[in-house]
Symmetry: none
Subunit: 230 residues, 4 copies
Amino acid sequence: MAEPTRERPTQAQRRDGTRQRLLDSATELFSQSGYHGTQVMDIVSKAHVSAGTFYRYFEDKQAIFFAIAQKLADHELQEAKKTHVLFSTAADFASTVTSMVQYYEAHFERVLAQAALYRCLLHSGVVDPARDHLWKMNERSTAALADHLRNAGITDTRDHESLARMILGIGAELRFSMIHSGQPTAARAARLATRCVIGALAAFTTQLPSHLKPSEQVWAATLQRLTLVE
Amino acid sequence: MAEPTRERPTQAQRRDGTRQRLLDSATELFSQSGYHGTQVMDIVSKAHVSAGTFYRYFEDKQAIFFAIAQKLADHELQEAKKTHVLFSTAADFASTVTSMVQYYEAHFERVLAQAALYRCLLHSGVVDPARDHLWKMNERSTAALADHLRNAGITDTRDHESLARMILGIGAELRFSMIHSGQPTAARAARLATRCVIGALAAFTTQLPSHLKPSEQVWAATLQRLTLVE
Amino acid sequence: MAEPTRERPTQAQRRDGTRQRLLDSATELFSQSGYHGTQVMDIVSKAHVSAGTFYRYFEDKQAIFFAIAQKLADHELQEAKKTHVLFSTAADFASTVTSMVQYYEAHFERVLAQAALYRCLLHSGVVDPARDHLWKMNERSTAALADHLRNAGITDTRDHESLARMILGIGAELRFSMIHSGQPTAARAARLATRCVIGALAAFTTQLPSHLKPSEQVWAATLQRLTLVE
Amino acid sequence: MAEPTRERPTQAQRRDGTRQRLLDSATELFSQSGYHGTQVMDIVSKAHVSAGTFYRYFEDKQAIFFAIAQKLADHELQEAKKTHVLFSTAADFASTVTSMVQYYEAHFERVLAQAALYRCLLHSGVVDPARDHLWKMNERSTAALADHLRNAGITDTRDHESLARMILGIGAELRFSMIHSGQPTAARAARLATRCVIGALAAFTTQLPSHLKPSEQVWAATLQRLTLVE
DNA sequence: GATGAATGAGTCTTCATTCAT
DNA sequence: TATGAATGAAGACTCATTCAT
């Protein structure tokens, strides 16, 4: 007889439901119109609650913005960690590339929905460093990748932070294009990004012991494989 | 010896002076406080003109913002095109790389010098697709680079747009970091970016006739030179 | 005996109350100072609400003006239609004239009672063809009267629109005078207008079958009666 | 050798020319958009003079408005007197009617251009009785017609003012329609107005000595003639 | 006399936030 | 606890008028 889902929801459940609806509405609206282009009234209308209710869940308009930012940042950090593992654990080049393609493909499919939000959050024009966890998260994400690059034995540069940024930039612009024009597809984007990244990394791994570097054949074959997709 | 145009700072000159003062004031204020943190009244006060005068020169607040953005974007596009030409005409690899470093260094220096303005433009949160010259400029940059890549004989991918985006992304993230933390320096950023970009491009130029590709020695030497900076 | 709707003057009732207070305040102020002489702040102050509240109920300043005009025009059109019906159904001339006098008297009394408002509406100088309900109402009045004249069997002219306009013009100028000088009184104006209108109509009903036209005696007696008022 | 038109205009002539251009521009703009819908800048642009020049010729915006009003009022008064003569001098009915048609036709053709202005001036929302000569002129025009009606021997009413207004109203609405819809044509409007007016007057001339009234045949024939136009 | 750049008080309108019901 | 009417400070924008050139 226990059908918890059919019983009327507890206070706490309703509370969470309302809060979640507000967050969802705000997320969509911020993504579309930016922080300043979104009014509290728009958010509450979309969430089917009243203006007053909003302020029971969030102190003010910035609060919901930062709540979203926080959530996204947490999520991104976790995802980023998964990626970086690739760089450090892969025993051989071929499997690294394969994993990288798989990761990017999953990544692009997954983040498409969030990319607009991500960009909005970073470029929102909200300036309140004291509360800006998002920016810190972004930095932490970069730092994590930098660490992995360092551990992977890259010694051609000591500025692994910047290298990490550049590599993240490769994906960022592709993602941005996908949101706005739908081009390229996740599958192709993954190949392009992988190819681009391994090329970039190659330029920073001249000092790697030769047994860790792919032979010329492997390199050619790998690029060949990445090309086949188009 | 009669230079009548210099004698009386005529109407036209006063006009231009006023317009310039408004642009300067706005640039500084937008840099400091962002678009939404700056009031029209602040701009006119700083420029020592009245509210009404502002609207003689700019249709509304957004107009002056876009005028500033446009000017910066135009300049960048010009500079970028100068360099991109190299991709297609450069006789030899070494000079291409040298030019690329020079371009990047100049670019990053400009960015550093006007970091606050860049930050404002990128983070303004102004969303008005109908008038967003900034966004159009970005697309034009991409298109211009894509064209050059195509002309340079890159046939490993037919999606030169995406390749262009990825390359621009490399610089974008670096710029973003410089704007916020001042790191890395323009000189180092230029080397890093160049190295990263030529690596990335190498991964897309497997089909280039061998006489166009750098020999292994040249390649190694080039990377070596790019490394020396640190 | 439970009348819950009367117990608590609910939201909806408060809403209507506020809207009505705004309309009343605006009506009075527009009457006194005209459209351009009245500020939104004046209206809200008089209605004891805040500036923001105004815009919950009316899109902008013009909207409340047109709301007032519309209401008055609607009412007048209703009243006019009631009378115009007489033109087509009236069995005999005498009762038509009696009704016409009654209608005009009521109309002119309304005008006198709200002379200032009428003056404001007529002289507001608001020119916005896209939203000018007043103008549309005027056209609707003309069309309605033209229809009735047509149905009444007037065939001396096929331009019933123009005939309608001329008849409406008779009343309009009288109204205009009453608004500004209070002269003539509603009672006399009604007789004058009726007499003038039936004279004018007589000049357009030569082809009416004779049994529908008043005999010379009836005509003379009618005019006599209309004269008695002075 | 005397070609005064080719010699360069005197100061005084240029002054008058400029003033006239300003008046013409203002007239057209006020007619189209009303007083409040017309900006001083619009007027000076149309007149090809600078903002400052405007204030050399007119004290302020209201001054040019009243200058136009004054001129129109003077003109109207003169024209009105011509008409009214018809009522008092015509020896016989038939020639009165003929003259009336001619007058109305000329009137409608002439005033079409000014009617919009006329209405704008009366309904402009400019409220400054101290300077409002136009309103007084309007009253004088009414008074003049009233006098003529009185002199013509109309004794059915003593309120010749109101009668005059009603008669003027007949033409006013027709004129207004002609401006906005182009309907009816001046020729038809003249017949319609004449017919309407003589009908209206007939209803106020029951006490005229019979030798002054048209016989039934003349009446019928007159109306017949007025009808032929359609 | 003419010009047109500059003025600035005046208004409308917005929207995050509060609070009585 | 939810509602939504009310708040009011804030800010963009206008336009008749002035005045240095």
